[in-house]
Symmetry: C3
Subunit: 303 residues, 3 copies
């Protein structure tokens, strides 16, 4: 879990993913020699801060977003949300501006507007993220930003043995999107890939429990094509994978942007459930991490 901890500690809210990009490029360039198949790596200005890995002859792509929620410093101590953070008064936030490193605490006024408490003014536009407190117990990992550092981690585990497939590290997922449209265009136009799995983190709910396996989400706010979802479920059953079926009316993912892209993508959200989403206390059962990696390995083979 050392890698997962490292990923969580990188400051990379939506729009400022470049630190994560740098870490991943360094990691991938070093590790790929040990992987079963060495992928081609696509990145640079045409990809903004995204990375695409191409293994063999791909049929299916894994999308893992590398951005996180957080806050932007405004003026008069005000904070604006990046994505939809859910944190209490006193939560520790970290960042850096022209004066140096920052560790401040979150507060709210009577109208529930967020602001910061700190000994000095912070530069306008500075981004702040939750201070990492990585808790590794017998059964659970608890830390800010399992959403979606865990999706990135799973993708990197699957990369080790992947023969044919694409892994996409996308940006801005937590705040309006914007990278998936050109990433979808690239992988469809170059390799005709139009099957996608969204490696992201979902919620423990009335119907999905911690420790009962990765969730295959049959729908959220968006409706993936049922034929594709059924195909996934059939593979998971045939290959005796541990999994749960989620059926949600809310929430969205990189899948939404694939759905409305000008390419006929089929997609499905497949991810471990967590408690306390978007808080500094996101918590995932270790068995569900294993189950997520296992199901991705199987799906990338059989789809």
């Amino acid at each position: 879990m050392k890698l997962l901890k490292q990923l969580c500690e990188i400051h990379a809210p939506s729009g400022e993913e470049y630190r994560m990009t740098e870490f991943l490029l360094k990691y991938i360039k070093k590790e790929k020699k040990k992987w079963k198949t060495e992928p081609e790596i696509f990145y640079g200005e045409e990809f903004q801060d995204c990375i695409v890995l191409k293994f063999g002859k791909p049929r299916t792509a894994i999308f893992a977003h590398i951005d996180s929620i957080g806050f932007t410093v405004r003026y008069q101590n005000q904070l604006l949300p990046i994505g939809s953070p859910d944190a209490e008064i006193g939560t520790l936030l970290v960042g850096e501006d022209s004066m140096g490193p920052i560790e401040c605490s979150l507060s709210f006024d009577n109208e529930n507007h967020a602001f910061y408490n700190f000994g000095r003014q912070i530069d306008r536009g500075t981004s702040l993220t939750y201070k990492i407190d990585f808790r590794d117990s017998k059964s659970f990992i608890q830390t800010p930003y399992l959403d979606n550092r865990l999706g990135v981690y799973v993708a990197l585990q699957v990369a080790e043995t992947l023969k044919d497939g694409v892994i996409v590290f996308s940006c801005w997922e937590e705040h309006g999107g914007g990278s998936v449209p050109y990433l979808a265009k690239y992988i469809y136009e170059n390799w005709k890939v139009k099957q996608a799995l969204i490696a992201d983190i979902t919620w423990v709910s009335d119907g999905v429990e911690a420790g009962k396996g990765v969730a295959i989400s049959m729908r959220d706010r968006n409706l993936p094509r049922r034929k594709f979802v059924n195909q996934l479920i059939e593979i998971a059953r045939k290959r005796k994978q541990k999994f749960q079926l989620e059926v949600e009316g809310m929430g969205s993912s990189d899948g939404r942007e694939l759905q409305v892209s000008p390419y006929p993508f089929d997609w499905c959200f497949v991810g471990a459930p967590q408690q306390n989403p978007h808080t500094p206390d996101e918590k995932v059962h270790k068995d569900d991490i294993k189950s997520m990696i296992s199901l991705y390995e199987v799906l990338m083979k059989d789809l």
Copy 2:
């Protein structure tokens, strides 16, 4: 009206349009020999569950969505809406799961959450639609799903005599869209078609009455380019068509996705008005169906 009744009876909520696709393909392949111009048929994996018909040298496309509203079964008897159904307690819903056919009734809890009453648990993710009660009276057709089986029906009537044009059967219109982007791309890039008529059903309103003719919608939540709308109105007047002008602030259609597509589409919603939209009692005046077919025939010639 036998064909319209058949179309209404097909279970095809957003995301599960494939039964309608199969019916239409069979119907078109059989009937097209009798049509004035035999169209080329485009379908298959690159089109998901959509169908495109190309007649002669097309200048204008008709878009008719083939999905309907409905519900998805969650857990603990909960139902999630597909699109925005508007139905009362006791409404009969039908579908099928691994245990067999389902006919259950709709209910609501105190917080207005939908659930089902049925003798057994229904599989997670099962979709349910209104039970069809097709009422054919002297002046009116009343049944669930005139929106948009009537649009599909009109397109199929127009197909019989169409010389030049495209007919597009699209998916997901009721729930966030997602097929129009690639359909627009296909017809623009291959045939330079950038004029579109949205064959869908609108509302009887303070300014639009049943029996007074098809509505040309000058705007809804979206604003089509006025120059194009004016051109339609001029043709309708010159050709002495019976029609009404609608001006709305709400509601949307496949036109929205054409508007924001990366192609310079002009579009206009042209459809019969109905009472009780999205309920099991949608009701359209027969004169307005005739008027809709007639106006489409004229527009496809003169545009």
Copy 3:
């Protein structure tokens, strides 16, 4: 300021930009001979009512939207908003229908629905805009539609000395967009341009004052890529430009559509702040207009 007044007086709400298009084409064709670099002009059916000017070897595009907010006449004296107008009872609205020119006044019923007072019925679908009252004082310009006639004006001033760059006049910005997707596609696919500056008008706020210089908006509802925004700020500082930093949680612009386009655009909103946005009394400090022109000149050179 004669040109700015002329621009404000043109009736061109979203969806009906063609009068502005005609004015601009005439103006540009006449004036371009005096400009340092003569641009190529792209317009016509493939561009709907938009215009693209290409100067030299472009690296960066200026986007200035040419539409305005307003109202659409419905029936029974009702008005529907185009974009989000903010006006009081008694505001004078102008337009034209089949019976001739219109000058009517705005009213509201108890439920805050807009309607018009006029001696006769106005044709369905007629668009109305604020009557222009152009006020030119020592320090301020005050008039309806500084948003975005001032952005258009600035772009035309910058055009006079521009060597390399694109100027895009876009449509529908105030009401859902729809032209930026194909404009972005055009300039990226033909000239690989993927840097964009949004020449639009922002708000005077708690942190941005009138007369203190043009605002560089670090974010609004959308998050531009931070690396690009930082590059702009660095250039502005190095070149000793007068400017202010805005950090907002609301508001949007043509930048949103660039962000979600299937091209890897970097964008930033750079515009003068105004008081009373979307009212008939929009007001901008003259120093901020100068500062906006100056910063655009510098950015188009150095980016």
